[in-house]
């Protein structure tokens, strides 16, 4: 029996807003699921071999030293025939995922739009604000090579980009995020419940929620809490709110707002501020602004938690940093490299979270093991894409309150 056999697309859980994939559409996603695993697993080792056997020796011969930065490795590897072929394969896989997903969504967009409108009109869980501008870091390129990014419309009021994100995430991640693509949010819930079993946050803010696939499991796990999920992109929020309503999750509201300006919420309003795979979609100036705002709206004793791939540190080999940087340059993730190169603890400290209040924890996607095999975690590492993350967080000190009052 072959190892790491991913489940078929049809094993995904269905919620009413999920675009319906016809037989061959599901089969195309099945191909991509296997193909992605093949690229990272079966032949991914070719990159390391090319580096160790010829790229690194050639670099040493030319420079008389080892590479000192991941960018030096990138320049050298981008001239290597193997790495170029492998990158072409992977880029094409990403492009196919978008094309296939958009075919599924666009051919049934009338029904999807109508259904979303119905859910959103009746649920009251969607609050759009046309005055919210799209930040430059969201519009400079279409992130993840998703045509239209997460904010554009095919026609006014449509749900294309949100639906396309949801329908194809399974293939991109090789099924590692579980039936509702919510393995990241489930991981957060699992960590919090283990860390503070008796904690019952009342007000939770999720910044950069897109379609809410990681915020909904938090709302489900804390039914007495009110979850506010914000994003600047109405096109994603429309789908996300309808998706949550369709799943019967009522204690979450989708609000169009920028994390850089949370002024509509008072100081200390939230018990928990969450971002999941979001900080790397920002910019050098936006990230500290958002973290400072998050600090302001977080109540003393509250939790801030960011789920990201591990930061690059001096302990991480330069070759691994280079591989983890692939998406930055080949899959339209322009802040990925700079963000992962930062000392996030320092950035958090400057935003007001004292270092002694911070922690880093490892979490992995929580999925139904009956259907979804665990994400491969050793050897065949899918750099930057495995469903294994670091949680960078802090419990905001109660002392802040006393200092502020003094």
């Amino acid at each position: 029996m072959a190892k790491d056999l991913p489940p078929p697309y049809t094993a995904m859980s269905r919620h009413p807003m999920m675009p319906r994939a016809a037989h061959d559409e599901a089969a195309r996603f099945n191909f991509l699921t296997h193909f992605n695993r093949y690229l990272s697993g079966n032949i991914g080792a070719g990159n390391r071999l090319a580096y160790e056997k010829r790229v690194l020796p050639a670099f040493r011969a030319e420079h008389g030293r080892d590479p000192e930065h991941r960018y030096e490795i990138r320049d050298a590897m981008n001239r290597d025939e193997w790495h170029r072929m492998w990158s072409a394969l992977k880029r094409n896989s990403m492009e196919m995922r978008q094309h296939f997903g958009r075919q599924v969504v666009l051919r049934q967009l009338d029904e999807l739009d109508a259904m979303a409108r119905q859910f959103n009109e009746h649920s009251g869980q969607l609050e759009l604000d046309p005055a919210i501008a799209q930040p430059h870091y969201q519009t400079a390129v279409d992130i993840h090579c998703q045509p239209g990014g997460y904010h554009s419309e095919e026609r006014p009021g449509d749900v294309t980009v949100g639906a396309n994100y949801d329908v194809g995430l399974f293939a991109t991640t090789g099924g590692a995020l579980g039936g509702f693509n919510d393995g990241g949010g489930q991981a957060v819930v699992g960590w919090v419940k283990a860390e503070r079993p008796d904690w019952s946050p009342k007000r939770i803010l999720d910044i950069g929620c897109t379609i809410g696939h990681n915020a909904v499991p938090i709302a489900q796990a804390f039914p007495d809490a009110e979850v506010i999920a914000i994003d600047t992109a109405a096109a994603s929020l429309r789908y996300g709110a309808a998706r949550a309503a369709a799943m019967g999750v009522k204690n979450i509201r989708f609000v169009q707002a920028s994390g850089e300006d949370l002024s509509r919420w008072a100081d200390g309003h939230f018990d928990w501020v969450q971002t999941t795979m979001f900080l790397h979609e920002l910019s050098a100036k936006a990230m500290p602004r958002i973290l400072a705002e998050a600090n302001r709206v977080l109540s003393p004793g509250g939790l801030i938690l960011h789920i990201e791939q591990p930061q690059y540190s001096d302990d991480m080999p330069l070759f691994e940093q280079f591989m983890r940087d692939w998406d930055a340059f080949n899959n339209n993730e322009p802040f990925w490299s700079a963000m992962h190169g930062q000392d996030l603890k320092q950035v958090m400290a400057e935003a007001g979270f004292p270092r002694e209040a911070q922690f880093v924890a490892g979490v992995r996607a929580v999925v139904d093991p009956e259907i979804f095999p665990p994400s491969p975690d050793a050897g065949a590492e899918d750099y930057g894409r495995a469903a294994i993350w670091n949680a960078y967080g802090a419990w905001k000190p109660l002392a802040d309150e006393r200092q502020a009052a003094a």
């Binding site: 049809t10 195309r28 099945n30 191909f31 193909f35 071999l49 072409a88 009338d110």
Partner: protein, 122 residues
Amino acid sequence: MSGGEAPLDWVTLSGKRAKGKRPDFFENPALDRLYSTVFALAAEVSALRERQDTIERLLEAKGTLSRADIETYVPDRAAGEERGLSTQAYIARIMRGFQQEVEAMEAHDPPIIDVVERLSRE
């Protein structure tokens, strides 16, 4: 149709380019184009294989079938694993050139002429 709007041209729209310059992976742009076509075809062949498998399974189980049967077919766990394994094996076949290049990098064989010359001597 909602609000009497013209139908969307979903075939054209679905292929829209993502904003942001695409890297050139090869010196010859024709190779970049060729990769796009070859692997889109590979996905289509995989989908066709799966459709064929669906038809065979439905015929075996029911003796007859309709198109709706095919479109709504959901493999059970055992069938899903068989089909997954079949897709894995299919990908292994079309990717042999890449896979064997990885092995070649590991093995680091000398040029065949070296072996030819050695055997002519020793």
